[in-house]
């Protein structure tokens, strides 16, 4: 959820000139919620702290792998790769430079 929001908020054209603290907070919110759930499992004596630590690494690694299977790196775009393969001219760098060297559709 954090990765998805990070890309969306970074590349939303309407938000280009707005502040970034609220965006960072919004991106961190799902991670903080996950941390709170992990801590509650320790407080309830259902898990050891090592389980929660390793579980969070495992979850983050799986989530990032699955995200990158369908979306480009966060800094490069927020559109799914399937859409970019169909229309690669839509892929732009953060400064708005064209990243596609092929021909544009007529």
């Amino acid at each position: 959820m954090s990765f998805y929001w990070a890309a969306k908020l970074l590349h939303a054209p309407r938000l280009r000139h707005s502040g970034s603290l609220w965006r960072a907070t919004l991106v961190a919110a799902p991670c903080v919620l996950a941390l709170m759930i992990g801590l509650s499992r320790i407080a309830d004596y259902w898990h050891h702290w090592e389980d929660v630590t390793v579980g969070s690494f495992l979850g983050t690694a799986t989530a990032y792998t699955m995200y990158r299977l369908r979306f480009p790196p966060i800094a490069e775009g927020a559109e799914p790769l399937a859409a970019l393969q169909a229309a690669p001219w839509a892929l732009k760098s953060r400064s708005g430079d064209r990243l596609y060297d092929g021909e544009y559709p007529v």
Binding site: Y45, H48, D51, L69, P80
Partner: protein
């Protein structure tokens, strides 16, 4: 042909794979028995002697966990579409989320079955009488599903494979020093 192209674009094969992984994960979670530790050496372990908190009284009951792990992200992804609606984006975001949850479910279930540790409240769940657990069976089984294991815990394979001779047999044969290939060492002049 157009339908096939659209199926590829919307990751139809990945949806099928995701549901297979989710099915396997659920089967592993429900069907596989957790790894059973020898209780003897751990009877006096303070780390498994904490009181038992029933699911309903815990900070985050299972129903809330499912809602937070599945329904909340689902709602957030759908609401993010208000920013820039796109069915392809929604499809891939949902596919990414569900496949991520499915793989995590399967991995965690397999780890628990292979090397699940005793939960901190295990002795309270177990209600030990004459070396045997007399607690509610499903709560005792759940008490064995704390993953991952610690390095000092015993080998999860059957005792036969822990015999030194058998362990030795599983490794490549030892060679005498004279038979080992010569490896020149880096020397600092």
């Amino acid at each position: 042909m157009d339908l096939l192209k659209r199926g590829v674009q919307y990751g139809l094969a990945d949806w099928v794979t995701t549901f297979i992984i989710a099915g396997l994960g659920l089967c592993a979670e429900k069907g596989l028995a957790p790894f059973e530790h020898e209780l003897g050496p751990q009877l006096a372990d303070p780390r498994i002697s904490y009181p038992y908190t029933p699911n309903a009284q815990s900070h985050c009951p299972k129903s809330l966990l499912i809602a937070l792990a599945f329904i909340l992200p689902l709602a957030l992804i759908v609401s993010t579409q208000l920013l820039a609606p796109s069915t392809l984006d929604l499809n891939h975001a949902l596919l990414g989320m569900i496949s991520s949850l499915s793989y995590t479910l399967l991995l965690v279930a397999l780890i628990k079955a292979a090397v699940g540790r005793l939960r901190p409240d295990f002795l309270a769940r177990c209600v030990l009488v004459d070396g045997a657990c007399t607690g509610v069976p499903h709560e005792v089984t759940e008490g064995r599903k704390s993953a991952p294991r610690q390095p000092h815990e015993p080998c999860p394979c059957p005792p036969s494979c822990q015999h030194p001779a058998l362990t030795r047999a599983a490794l490549p044969p030892r060679r005498r020093l004279s038979e080992r290939p010569h490896r020149p060492r880096l020397r600092v002049a």
